[in-house]
Subunit: 410 residues, 2 copies
């Protein structure tokens, strides 16, 4: 019996490594080979430099000529677990209703809170699984899923558990984020401080247990929470070893980006109304700017985030679906990338780095998002002639196959 | 041996008939049954009114509870047959290049003409088939496909033949449209009149043969053709019994809508810069307004078509993908409907009538687009709780099954 050094070798596609140490926008390597062992990338190089013939070096040889191979896509901002939908509100907004008004009137996030609390585990999981499968079908291998539609201790933990269960079944890696500061639950309507205290003292430590959540997020906005209210929750997150995220400056310039920068959050997200001061704070704090064109589109916004300022300040830009029932019913990360180009003026190279390398960075993950020896073998293999196509076609089946920790998921 | 009156009965979904004689925006019929015989709808009504038990009345009983059933979607404006792609131009535009400038410099439509002429039949067909399958996967049963990327007599006919062949293999009904007035071919650069004459005298009559094309279209624009140049071609189309379409007022108000109205064209399409006079002409001429939000998005336009004026004037609005490699690389008609809501302010009910009833009208087809006795049994069966969801979710697999002339295409 022969023993092979590697489990699999992928042959003949062009790699878009997104490795900044390789030249060009894609860090491209044509006619490449990529070796996988125990779910990790163990070798990358020109096919002709393989140390031994393919069938000697690897147990399984996968030949994919005429493809591009990218890192598996990373959707770094979703709310993929929720009960109900809000297609009615979508129609109401198109008939003239305002998002913030709907929220104040008990619609918006709070209507999804009611539907999520009322949902049993099984349908909640099944619906989330279907959404994750939709993302996976378009090349995603890692999805961040936030809590924030239950807003009780047990309920928020349940949402995170459901997210992980849905991810296992859909064949995607899920990273959980505690977003208890998403909306003030009705039962605390007259005691905001008590809710913030509950989040900091109970929810954050429990979400950190067993890896349920890796980051803590907060919706900083007039209709949600203030920077001051975030402070105790962020302190608790740091104490528990969790990273920070901020929903920042989406509807108003409410100081979210400044807050993210000051706390050294992994990212600030949305950013349509971020001030130059906010951009500077993000640059100083090392924050990724997570752009969410699905929400911009669906809310019919006309004030794009300050992309030129992010470029100039050297703030890395990620792109995500923001998949959620209220403001971004978007179930394709490739479409998010295409929208980031057409709505925000990103180049295809920026948008695609935004759904791979920079998205992983927003999640605080240095083991994926780039094709490099030592990282996870999370791959997407595409039927395209050039990577620009991935941010150009909207819809369409471009994915040939998808690999999660070395295992082909089809 | 029992003989059944019907071939198939569909049971238990809610019908969105889009029949204006039924109440509400959807012409909805809950807990419905729909009988099919020889590819046509022969019965529609409440399940409880079935004339005989399902297994007696029909050879095949298909029970689809918890679904909505709509007419199969109709994509009434595509350029789905072409060689090459223009992802490079997409990137160039995002780096600052202008669409009309690229066209004048030999990019744009003319670059696709070169690629299409150079392509063999088989890869041209295979690529078109893949695009039609993408549309079909999202509920489309009828697709209009235009010529216009070859601009020679034999080449334009080849494009139409390829479109029909691709449609047969993809399981969608294709209606061909001759768009020889798409761009002036280089070989006629110094004799525009001779090209127009060739289109009118040779291309139109030959496209009409064997049902290759049912309509003739023209791109009326500063960078394309004038109203005066269209006249002989439109006369030839009328003589050959073909309907008329116009690419109108997309980049400038160049009188396309007025022209469409004056000629009683089936539709005018794009319409971002249509004047009040153009809207009136369309209303008088009975033209459908075909809205193409994919091109608006991709060209980063900020001047939407005059939707309020169309409503007020009673001009019916259809929505299509405009699937093409230059200005609308959009491979989902549902996404076009969602974009028409978010970018143009259509209601979900308007957008969905726009991809069914009004799209069929733009094609001059009165045998589909509405669920009504006597029409084709072209159906889309959806996993949704309400039809608004079809114009709300972007991406995602919502389709349960698709029926073309009574045959389930899966």
């Amino acid at each position: 019996m022969t023993t092979h050094p590697w489990d699999t070798v992928w042959l003949g596609g062009t790699l878009a490594t997104f490795d900044p140490n390789r030249p060009g926008p894609w860090g491209a390597l044509p006619e490449a080979a990529l070796g996988v062992k125990n779910g990790r990338i163990v070798w990358i190089g020109p096919l002709t430099d393989l140390p031994e013939p393919p069938d000697v070096v690897a147990r399984e040889v996968r030949s994919v000529p005429d493809t591009w191979i990218t890192p598996g896509l990373v959707d770094c901002h979703t709310h993929a677990v929720f009960g109900g939908d809000r297609a009615d509100e979508f129609a109401a907004r198109l008939a003239g209703a305002d998002y913030a008004e709907l929220a104040r009137a008990g619609g918006g996030i709070r209507s999804t809170v009611r539907a999520t609390r009322a949902a049993d585990d099984e349908p909640l999981r099944a619906a989330a699984e279907a959404r994750l499968r939709d993302l996976a079908r378009d090349g995603v291998t890692t999805v961040e899923v936030k809590s924030g539609y239950d807003l009780t201790v047990e309920g928020e933990l349940r949402m995170l558990d459901v997210a992980h269960a849905a991810g296992r079944r859909a064949g995607v890696a899920v990273q959980g984020t505690l977003l208890a500061l998403h909306a003030l639950p009705d039962e605390f309507a007259h005691d905001r401080a008590a809710y913030v205290d509950l989040v900091a003292r109970e929810m954050v430590p429990r979400a950190a247990e067993q890896g349920r959540a890796a980051q803590v997020d907060a919706f900083v906005e007039d209709i949600a929470f203030s920077a001051e209210e975030c402070a105790p929750v962020f302190r608790a997150a740091r104490a528990a070893g969790l990273g920070l995220r901020v929903h920042a400056d989406q509807l108003t310039d409410s100081g979210g980006a400044v807050l993210a920068g000051e706390w050294g959050a992994a990212s600030a997200d949305h950013l349509e109304r971020t001030s130059p001061q906010g951009v500077r704070a993000m640059a100083d704090g090392g924050c990724v700017a997570v752009l969410l064109p699905g929400a911009y589109l669906t809310l019919r916004d006309d004030h794009p985030p300050p992309v030129a300022a992010f470029r100039e300040a050297g703030v890395p830009m990620a792109v995500a679906t923001d998949l959620n029932p209220g403001s971004s019913p978007l179930r394709s990360l490739r479409t998010a990338a295409a929208l980031a180009c057409s709505l925000f003026g990103l180049t295809p190279a920026e948008a695609l780095a935004g759904v791979t390398r920079e998205a992983a960075r927003a999640l605080g993950l240095d083991d994926r998002g780039v094709l490099e020896v030592g990282r996870r073998a999370d791959l997407a293999v595409w039927h395209v002639k050039r990577p620009e196509e991935l941010a150009y076609w909207i819809g369409g089946e471009l994915l040939r196959t998808r690999v999660l920790e070395g295992i082909e998921e089809g």
